[in-house]
């Protein structure tokens, strides 16, 4: 320990010296150390763009064009989508426009809602059944049912695909060490690449439409399923595997009769994550033609019709909450060994519930499509509320906004953008070296150099400024709140529940209130990001504090510490590793929201990706996306090694 600390201090001094040297050079040395000249920027995005184009248009294996394969895949994927949409949303329709005839109705909304409520009732109880009924009623009465079912159809297909692929890949990784190494490396990058970047290559390969959205979504939702599968299979006790061998199970028997059933509880947790990620992505993917509730929100945002946007957003919330609760109780039942909840008779009842209203809808069309003139809407109310707020509170709101923009946000952005790149990289490298050693420093430098030479340095600094600011705000609000809650056992459960619900909401939903109050711009983005990223800060604040060993607290009390002293000298240090992980998680959440916030007109990397998406420029979109990933990886590397350093002194981190 001692030599390490000495080394740390030593490197700190050398670091300072280096910094000073760089400061001097940045002032005196050639300007290219402050601002990279255009000549030094590599046209990486052009390369990527033409590479992708070549791959999508001209590349061929064994004489078969990749383009043909992908188009075939796309139309193959279109089939199940059409089928599900036929069942859930549109019914069997022939022709279009005025010639449109409906040959068979879709499943009646009444049947779907009742059947879902029955599932909820059997899996959990009355509460979940009522929640399901309410959510369904909201979707129907506000005229969102068809959109919601379109979204649900995409979610179902993507979840099934991600589940099958994720299980297969996870099983492969579980069996082969080499495969696991590769998969893990790829998945780590995949999880930091912003959501939009998934859309670009799929758009190029599969064309505009629902099937492209499907592929993007499946790829996006795959990593957590693979991860969960590997963890779940690893958790099968070695004795259970020995049992399989001793009873002479074949490989297939071992997998289907032993490994998968025993791993089921953890797999179910993975399923929940996959469902939620899929929903989030399906909403975003409405940009490339997936349709559904996400499309309603986007259209409303573009028309600045906040009321309609808010209504559709709440529809997303309703769908998300029900899906989340259902998969959560399923996972919970699995892990607590509650079984035999669903009987054969229930299946019969559910089928009847689905069929009877659907058949009845032949006579009573209102059962298949809620008549438009019965639809409720609160859009005028919300629009009115927004304009009321804007009329009456325009000045205070505007004052807050301008004060933040002029006093904090703009100066900080200007500072970051003006800072010489060499200085920024050197400081980050120094931080990497002191926290994690040479390898961390090298990783950080290489990643930042990528951002630099790809020509996105300025945009990246804007992203960093928004990210740092929102993370700081989220932490300033979330951590103290979490720490405070940890001291009040009665609050744990409700706060936990609120956090869970907040985290199930698709990212797009967070933009709405911010835009309604503060219009487009960086400040709205800041509000949206902070409200999205505050949940992990609270969560980790609570977790860190509640897991401090109680013996240590007793020891502190017995040695006569005041409450403040025991907090400062015992609880805080013990919670530090967890708190740092919380910071890390907050950063990751902020980054993923940052990109979505491009929709409200920020000017940074997310915007670059979004614009490229809108223009269909693959190269810049992918490279800007990779730059976001690079920033995420830098933050991750620094904070993880920070947490490890703290944990070396203070013991484990608890999540």
């Amino acid at each position: 320990m001692v030599p390490k600390d000495v080394a740390g201090r030593y490197s700190l001094w050398t670091g300072l010296a280096v910094t000073l040297a760089i400061l001097a050079t940045s002032l005196l040395a050639p300007a290219s150390f402050a601002q990279l000249s255009d000549k030094a920027i590599l046209p990486i995005s052009d390369w990527v763009g033409s590479g992708m184009n070549w791959f999508a248009r001209d590349a061929a294996i064994f004489g078969v064009k990749i383009a043909d394969i992908t188009r075939a895949l796309a139309s193959a994927a279109q089939m199940p989508i059409d089928w599900l949409k036929f069942i859930l949303a549109d019914g069997w329709v022939k022709g279009a426009g005025f010639n449109k005839v409906q040959l068979a109705p879709p499943l009646s909304w009444l049947g779907v809602i009742l059947a879902a409520a029955l599932v909820g009732f059997r899996l959990s109880g009355r509460g979940l059944a009522i929640l399901t009924l309410l959510a369904g009623a909201y979707l129907v009465f506000f005229g969102l049912w068809a959109s919601a079912m379109t979204t649900l159809a995409s979610v179902v297909i993507c979840v099934v695909a991600a589940l099958v692929l994720g299980l297969a890949m996870g099983f492969w990784a579980y069996r082969s060490v080499r495969a696991e190494m590769w998969l893990r490396a790829i998945m780590n990058v995949m999880q930091t690449v912003p959501i939009f970047s998934y859309l670009l290559p799929t758009l190029l390969l599969f064309g505009y439409g629902p099937s492209a959205a499907l592929f993007a979504t499946v790829v996006y939702a795959l990593p957590p399923m693979v991860h969960a599968t590997v963890l779940a299979l690893r958790s099968v006790p070695s004795e259970t595997l020995e049992l399989a061998r001793m009873t002479g199970c074949s490989r297939a028997q071992t997998l289907w009769k032993v490994e998968l059933p025993v791993a089921a509880p953890r797999l179910a947790i993975g399923l929940n994550q996959v469902v939620m990620m899929t929903l989030n992505m399906v909403i975003i993917a409405s940009m490339i033609g997936a349709g559904g509730l996400g499309y309603d929100v986007l259209r409303a945002l573009r028309r600045l019709d906040f009321g309609a946007g808010f209504e559709a957003g709440m529809g997303i919330v309703a769908l998300a909450v029900v899906l989340d609760r259902l998969t959560q109780v399923a996972a919970h039942n699995q892990s607590t060994g509650r079984q035999g909840l669903w009987s054969r008779r229930d299946t019969l009842v559910a089928v009847l519930l689905l069929l009877v209203p659907t058949l009845a809808s032949l006579a009573l069309p209102a059962l298949s499509a809620w008549p438009a003139n019965w639809t409720l809407t609160t859009a005028p109310f919300w629009n009115g509320a927004v304009s009321l707020i804007n009329q009456n509170f325009y000045e205070p709101l505007e004052a807050i906004r301008t004060a933040m923009l002029l006093g904090v946000m703009n100066p900080m952005r200007n500072l970051l953008q003006a800072a010489p790149w060499s200085l920024v990289i050197a400081l980050l490298a120094l931080a990497g070296y002191t926290l994690g050693g040479f390898r961390t420093a090298l990783t950080v430098v290489l990643l930042m150099l990528f951002v630099l030479i790809s020509g996105y340095w300025q945009a990246a600094m804007s992203s960093v400024y928004l990210m740092v600011l929102s993370v700081a705000l989220a932490l300033a609000i979330g951590l103290p709140f979490g720490i405070w809650v940890s001291g009040h056992a009665r609050l744990h459960h409700p706060v936990q529940l609120a956090l869970d619900t907040l985290q199930t909401l698709p990212t797009l939903v967070y933009l709405l209130p911010a835009v309604m109050l503060f219009r487009n711009g960086d400040f709205s983005a800041l509000i949206a990001i902070v409200s999205y990223a505050v949940a992990p800060a609270v969560r980790y604040g609570m977790a860190g504090m509640t897991h401090v060993p109680s013996e240590r607290i007793e020891a502190a009390l017995m040695s006569g510490c005041t409450p403040w002293q025991s907090f400062r000298f015992v609880r805080l240090p013990a919670a530090l590793p967890t708190l740092i992980l919380g910071v890390n998680q907050t950063v990751m959440m902020a980054l993923s929201m940052l990109v979505i916030a491009a929709l409200v007109g920020t000017r940074e990397l997310g915007q670059e990706v979004y614009t490229s998406l809108a223009r269909g420029e693959t190269g810049p979109g992918i490279v800007a996306g990779l730059c976001v990933a690079a920033i995420a990886l830098v933050a991750d590397a620094l904070l993880k090694s920070g947490a490890q350093r703290a944990a070396r002194h203070e013991g484990e981190a608890h999540v």
Binding site: E239, E242, T247, G248, C249, Q253, K257, P261, V262, G337
Partner: protein
């Protein structure tokens, strides 16, 4: 090392010769070492751990054989070598004269399906199956029709005293009941060899005693060759015909409980058995004077002194010793009482 042959002169069921199991990055290096160089020190020098070192023993048909030792002494590894759950690095293992290390995959699967049963320390029940489903599992794997498998499973469930609980899930059972399910499951195929790895060490003392009695009862109704691992000396004495004591991968003595107590091979064994009262293990046959006689009633030659303590207290002078229905000798009361008082 007193006795590696089978006890009681029964035919040999398991014959193990020179079993080694070494763990380490380059376990193959072991086979390149010359025979005389296979010592713990040289193994250590090349970075190998000798979990089982040169184990040689024979187990008779119907014998209950216990493997004992401290944690990490290699008991589980040795047991798993016998089932080939762990592949031994060197040595020979014959079941009824047939070398099982040479079996192909399919033959091994058949051997395990038909003739081996195993009970695990942490039960290893499948949480998604009911009691019946768990017990019928080995038969189901073999492709037996469900109805038949469940009928056979029900018989065993009854035998282990779980009747009426067959539709419960493992999570709804106590630890002792779960292990009863484990025992029933290991016996559904009516195996010839029964392996138990610390079957009761996760249970409370009272439940442990119950299950030990259960095992003794099962062994009386149907004789199997039993190999069980334990670190509980009382349990070993109660259940086993012979005990193998392991220390750091080596078997340092194999013998009946009585032999271990009266003639410990090393100081280690002596300390191991120090707490055992000799009267619990010393048998009448070993302290009697051999002299056939006419008596038809008396003390049993196979009984331990502790077993016959009530008769000793009441008796005067010497007691006739009976084996079968004949008198084989006389037991001197004072010699017997001495074992009750003396600690070795």
């Amino acid at each position: 090392m007193s006795d590696i042959g089978t006890g009681r002169g029964a035919p040999t069921a398991i014959d193990a010769k020179g079993i080694w199991k070494v763990f380490g990055r380059d376990a193959g290096a072991f086979n390149r070492l010359p025979l005389q160089a296979r010592t713990p020190e040289t193994l250590m020098a090349v970075g190998l751990v000798g979990a089982v070192q040169d184990a040689t023993f024979q187990i008779g048909r119907g014998e209950v054989f216990a493997i004992m030792g401290l944690s990490g002494s290699g008991k589980s590894t040795l047991l798993r070598c016998l089932t080939r759950l762990i592949e031994p690095t060197a040595g020979e293992i014959a079941f009824n004269g047939r070398d099982i290390l040479k079996l192909g995959d399919k033959e091994l699967v058949d051997l395990r399906r038909q003739r081996m049963g195993m009970v695990f320390q942490h039960f290893a029940l499948l949480p998604n199956r009911t009691v019946v489903g768990n017990v019928a599992f080995p038969l189901e794997v073999q492709g037996m029709p469900r109805v038949e498998a469940e009928r056979r499973a029900m018989e065993l469930i009854e035998t282990v005293g779980l009747k009426g609980r067959e539709t419960r899930f493992p999570a709804q059972l106590s630890g002792g009941q779960q292990q009863r399910v484990g025992i029933a499951r290991s016996l559904t195929t009516n195996p010839e060899f029964w392996f138990l790895d610390e079957p009761f060490s996760a249970l409370d003392p009272l439940i442990r005693a119950d299950l030990q009695a259960e095992v003794l009862r099962l062994q009386q109704t149907q004789t199997r060759t039993v190999i069980f691992v334990t670190h509980d000396l009382d349990e070993a004495i109660r259940l086993a015909d012979r005990i193998a004591i392991m220390e750091a991968g080596r078997i340092i003595q194999i013998g009946t409980p009585e032999e271990l107590v009266t003639q410990p091979a090393t100081d280690y064994v002596r300390r191991f058995v120090a707490k055992v009262p000799p009267a619990r293990v010393v048998r009448v046959a070993s302290i009697m004077t051999v002299e056939p006689g006419p008596a038809t009633a008396g003390v049993n030659a196979d009984a331990t002194i502790a077993d016959i303590a009530p008769q000793l207290v009441a008796a005067e002078g010497r007691l006739p010793v009976i084996d079968g229905a004949r008198q084989v000798g006389w037991l001197d009361r004072s010699a017997a009482l001495a074992t009750l008082a003396v600690r070795i």
